[in-house]
Amino acid sequence: MKKILLVEDNEMNRDMLARRLQKRGFDLLLAEDGLIGVKLAQTEKPDLILMDMSLPGMDGWEASRVLKADPATNGIPIIALTAHAMAEDREKALAAGCNEFETKPVDLTSLLAKMGTLLGTTPA
């Protein structure tokens, strides 16, 4: 069972996405801000991180940079989630070290496809 870390401050979005992914057989770790996300990633070593970009405290871009700078975590793929459907946000996310990019509201099919690619599995 693949372990997924979901970093998302909005409770509804976090709950929603977590439930849908759990239903598809993923093990979910939840974090509500960047700092907790980074800590959880370091201790739990998830297989993939779904990272919201607009977070309180340490934001998603900063958290991604920290994780990608840490040799212990830099191998974990990160998919950036952002409400800004703007090319510049995607560029910014990729520049921060994120491996993929998904626009909110999340299109589950598209997200699962991307997750599958990064995890090296076919989507559930």
Binding site: R20, A83, H84, A85, M86, L108
Partner: protein, 832 residues
Amino acid sequence: MFDRMPLRWRLTLLITSICAVTLIAAFSGYLAVELIKIRQSVGERMESTQRLLVDNATAVLVRDPEAANFPLSSLSSDQTIVAAAIYGGDDRLLTKYIRPGVNEFIPKPRAITLNFSTDQVIIFRPLRHNGQQIGTLYLKAEFGGLERERLLEPLRGMAILFLLSMLFAVLASRFMQRGISDPISKLAAAARRVAVDGDYNVRVDSKAGGETGVLVDAFNSMLTTIQQRDAELVVAKTNAESARERLAEINSTLEEVNRTLEHKVQDRTAELEKMMLTAKDANQAKSSFLAKMSHELRTPMNAIIGYSEILLEDATDTGNQSAADDLNKILGAARHLLGLINDVLDLSKIEAGRMDLFLETFDVGTIVRESITTVAPLVEKKQNRLVLDCPAQVGMMHADTTKLRQVLLNLLSNASKFTSHGLITLSVARGMVGPGECIIIKVTDTGIGMTAEQMSRLFQTFSQADASTTAKFGGTGLGLAISRQFARLMGGDVTATSESGKGSVFTVWIPVQVAPVRATAVPFEIAPMRTTAPFPSTAPIPTAPKVVAKPATTATNHAGARVLIIDDDQNVHTTLNQLLSKEGYVVAGTATSKEARIKAREFRPDVIILDTLVPEVEGWNLLAQFKADPELSSIPVILLTMVDDVKTAGVALGAADYLIKPLDGAKLLPILDKLCAERKETSILVVEDDPPTRLMVCRLVEREGWLAVPAENGRRALDLLKTFTPSVVLLDLLMPEVDGFSVLREMRGNPAWKDIPVVVLTSLDLTGEVRRLLQQQAERVLQKGRYTREELLKEVRDAVREFAGRGLRGSRPPMEVLHPGPVPPIKVSPSA
């Protein structure tokens, strides 16, 4: 000395001295002659005396050589004889005579016979007898006394004569010289007065003739000339002085004005600077607001869509079909709402000039195929077939992928929406548009297509071909407008051609190499509110004011209103003509539909009465044509019909009202009156100093069926406002004499005018502060060059409605202030 004498004296002296010299010469001549005469007579006397003495003495001596007692004493009677002596033959003095009282001596006899000096004669004469000298006679005479005596006598007379002559000469010269010297003296005196006192009033009064007269006359005329010159000089001086004073006055006024102006400019500049800062802040706030809104709106949508999907999955899993159906509806609505939100945000961004381009180089084919994949479900849903015509070598382009994709998706989904069981063709090619190489994408469908009228509103926001289409086909009505703006941002455009019932072709072209331009605000064309469709009872936008007490006389509403009657029945024309003319309408008519449109354009009626059964073209078609003609669409049309089932069709086609034949005047008149009243009360005051702009705006307004009252500046506008109440004032800001700001101030300060809506049209780049200030006083502010005609008309319509909504009643200006005739019609090219 002589030189300094007065001329009078000199002349006198001259004449007198000439006179004296002449007299002296004459007298001297006379005296000389007299003297010679005296001398001759003395000589003669002496000769005779001597001869007598010689004879007597000779005789005595002959007788007595010693005759000493010769009677020489007889000589005493002769005054001239001073001395006499007789010498004997031996020169012995025999006798002598010396006049008593005279000291004389007797000289020795000499051989000299006669010695005649100036005043004395001495004679020695030998006394001979028989050739032998017997003695000598000596005689000495003096004439001095005699001469004096004889000369003195005439001299006295001469002296008196001389004096008298001189006196006469003096008097005569004094009298005679006056003719010469007087005028000259007067001239001199006058000249002195002129020279010393500078008195040019002096004139020399003289009747002298000759050269003097000429001189005097010349002098006088010279003085007159000088005086005239002086007077002229004085006048000129005075003029120059007053001119200088006026100049100084004007100068000071100018300086004052300048100062005031400078102050004003300074104040305005400061104000503007402040406002600019405020506007900058406001702009900043606006863009951050937009960014925030996009996040804030999308987040809850995210949750709604997400949970709906979860529930839908659950419902599907548990086989709860009815819940699944409902959830599908929620999902559909939510996705639509999200689409709307995205579109509105895009629009706001474009409008705010916040839409930026993110340029990258990409393969055109990839984007095209991706879009097809995305739109595939929609295409299939309507059982359409999609054909892609994209050559492999179409290659790469440098543009904004997101925006290009959005444009493609919009065009493809539109084609799918409005086509069923048809063919959609997407062709992509490289080509040249203007000077640059472009990617040209064509989306062709075989769907319902559009009419020319629908086409004209195609790219306007919130406009679909038909109000009903939104309900039928979905969509926000924003897609095409956004697509066109995106294409234009990238330096390209979207165009369309269509034929109703046959399908449409949308063409996008975008430069292969898009230039990275800073986005600026792009004006949108806002679809006009359709005022034509429903009957008045259901009209959503009443142009009539909320009923305020109607004037007692209905005639005032329609006096001079124009009615065009289109009917093939001559009886209808006759009846209506009589009826309406009596009511004060101006009536024109035509029997054929062919003529109807031309007539309507020429006559510019306030109301059209249209028979639905005119030959050639059906009345309905004619009505549709009127409503599709921008010049005529605003004219209310009353339908005349034989049957009572026109209401629905009338609503759809935009008739204002309808009447069933045979005509009932009692029904027609109130309807006409009401329609005319509405039009009459709506007049728009167009205040604009630039003639072409004024004319353009006036025409635009006239085409809406309102009366445009032009005013070339603020002063004229304020004057006009005193004569009538416009429903709306369209106001330019920068104008000569009285500017727009002042007009606004005046209007807002006047209770009669303060409720008249004002739409400001300005080319000024308004800062936030100015805009805010203006918006407090004016209903709307439109920037010239930024608004479209439709936008302007929409604002004016809104303002007209607002005016009515305030319970106000407009009026038209009296005929005499409307000097120009109706605005000439504009040629409108067919909309296609």
